[in-house]
């Protein structure tokens, strides 16, 4: 509990420090707005609904990308797990996967899917899906052999074993994959919008930057930071609960 408070104090102090530096003019208004002003600006754009369409586009894309990554990653993980030869061959590639700067493939998706949500979702899925595959493989690897033997002792069918023993045993590991899929979907969608798109929060931030509209820009940046923090905190809470059950 005291650690929690300490953390709150650290974060609050940093925000207050920035607030102070902005107020006295050490950080010029041209560079950064005071945090309190950001909040005011955010409330303002949420009230007027000026960016509602962009916000909706972005969060829809993130949701679709997350769902696709989780489902595709899980299924791919199952398939790779059931084919040891394929897995053997893929493993060195999977280990190097995050070394590939995925965003450079964005133009290729544009030629395939056109400019718009489909390309953005494709790039975000490309970024997020591998963490789900890795998490699935990891979870399946770590089902203790004795649990499968136990299912055999109860003379359970293959399907029942998968549903009642293997799935719950892998769940904590799968959730790690879910967490990463969410984070990478956020990064993939917003970064794609930022660099090369005509809609969404990322685009709106880049647009506001180019027009020197610092008020809008910081309001949207704050919106992203707050959303990610909230989502992250909730996921971590669920994660901690799942991990507490994991022993061995």
């Amino acid at each position: 509990m005291s650690e929690k408070w300490l953390r709150l104090i650290v974060v609050a102090t940093m925000i207050l420090l920035v607030e102070l530096l902005c107020r006295v003019g050490v950080i010029p208004r041209m560079v950064m707005l005071a945090p309190s002003q950001m909040v005011v600006e955010l409330a303002e754009i949420l009230r007027t609904g000026q960016f509602s369409a962009d916000i909706r586009t972005t969060f829809t894309n993130i949701a679709i990308s997350t769902a696709l990554s989780i489902v595709l990653g899980f299924v791919a993980g199952l398939i790779i797990y059931s084919l040891p030869a394929l897995r053997h061959a893929l493993e060195p590639l999977l280990a190097s996967y995050y070394a590939v700067p995925t965003f450079v493939f964005y133009p290729i998706f544009i030629t395939l899917f056109g400019v718009g949500s489909a390309s953005i979702i494709a790039i975000a899925v490309l970024l997020a899906v591998v963490s789900m595959i890795t998490a699935t493989l990891n979870g399946l690897d770590r089902i203790p052999r004795v649990l499968r033997k136990t299912a055999q002792i109860y003379r359970m069918s293959r399907a029942k074993t998968a549903l009642l023993v293997e799935l719950p045993a892998t769940l904590p590991y799968l959730f790690t994959g879910v967490k990463l899929s969410v984070a990478y979907s956020f990064i993939g969608v917003i970064a794609s919008e930022f660099i090369l798109s005509g809609a969404g929060i990322g685009y709106a931030i880049a647009y506001a930057y180019n027009l020197f509209e610092n008020g809008h820009m910081y309001a949207l940046i704050l919106l992203v930071l707050v959303t990610v923090t909230i989502v992250n905190t909730i996921l971590n809470m669920i994660d901690r609960r799942l991990q507490a059950r994991r022993q061995r």
Binding site: V31, M32, T102, V104, F186, I195, N236
Partner: protein, 243 residues
């Protein structure tokens, strides 16, 4: 070695799929593997391309070194100081999962358009994973190692270099591998958004001009570079741990 053969087969399959895709959608949408390699060869023959490479590499090397030194030292401090580590960890994981692009305008406003903004942006990407991995390496080190070095009456520096460092190095290298990739990504994104030089800039201009073969040639170059460096680090790690 059969493992290598399998991987080669997968790569070959990938190239065949690429070629098939190319035949399906046509040259204007996807360059063929051969076209891409030829284009890359001709690009590498021009001095201007090498100028852009060196521009990107300068920013990348600087950002990577800063992430490396900063991340490892910060990680060690947070790993040794339990309370500081516990307080910092959730903050760091949240920072890790935010899309850092949204902060790029702030970086540009602070550092201006130029190499320092790219370096700063690269560090923002690479620093946190290296810090997190180094911190956890220290925290998860078996306490028996430290006790053994005490029993052997090693001096603090002896214990640090002969026991602790070898014990935590594999974890740290994993962090460095991730940090390496993300730093590169950060520098490239920086160049793609706002720069007049570098591979990222070349990518953006090729996108705007619709030069699909140039885009794919650069993507291939970057992929080969990143994957080879990553493989070297993995190999080094395996040598080190005798696994």
């Amino acid at each position: 070695m059969p493992r290598l053969a399998g991987t080669l087969i997968v790569l070959l399959t990938f190239i065949l799929l690429w070629q098939g895709f190319h035949l399906l959608v046509g040259s204007s949408a996807i360059a063929s593997p051969l076209q891409t390699v030829v284009k890359l060869g001709s690009l590498l023959g021009t001095g201007e391309f090498w100028l852009n490479i060196s521009e990107t590499m300068r920013a990348f090397v600087a950002a990577f070194l800063l992430s490396l030194l900063g991340g490892i030292s910060l990680g060690i401090v947070l790993g040794v100081r339990k309370l500081a580590g516990n307080v910092a960890e959730p903050i760091l994981t949240t920072l890790y999962s935010i899309p850092k692009v949204v902060l790029y305008p702030l970086v540009l406003l602070c550092f201006g358009l130029g190499i320092s903004a790219k370096i700063a942006f690269g560090v923002m990407h690479g620093l946190i994973p290296i810090t997190l991995f180094s911190m956890n390496a220290i925290r998860q080190m078996k306490p028996v190692y430290r006790r053994t070095s005490q029993v052997m009456r090693l001096s603090p520096s002896q214990s640090a270099f002969t026991v602790i460092l070898p014990a935590i190095l594999p974890e740290i290298i994993s962090g460095v591998r991730l940090g390496f990739s993300l730093t590169l990504l950060g520098v490239l994104i920086g160049e793609m958004f706002a720069s007049q030089r570098g591979l990222g800039f070349l990518l953006t201009s090729a996108i705007n001009l619709g030069q699909i073969d140039t885009i794919m040639a650069i993507a291939l170059l970057l992929t080969v570079f990143a994957v080879s460096c990553n493989s070297l680090m993995m190999l080094f790690n395996r040598q080190l741990t005798h696994r």
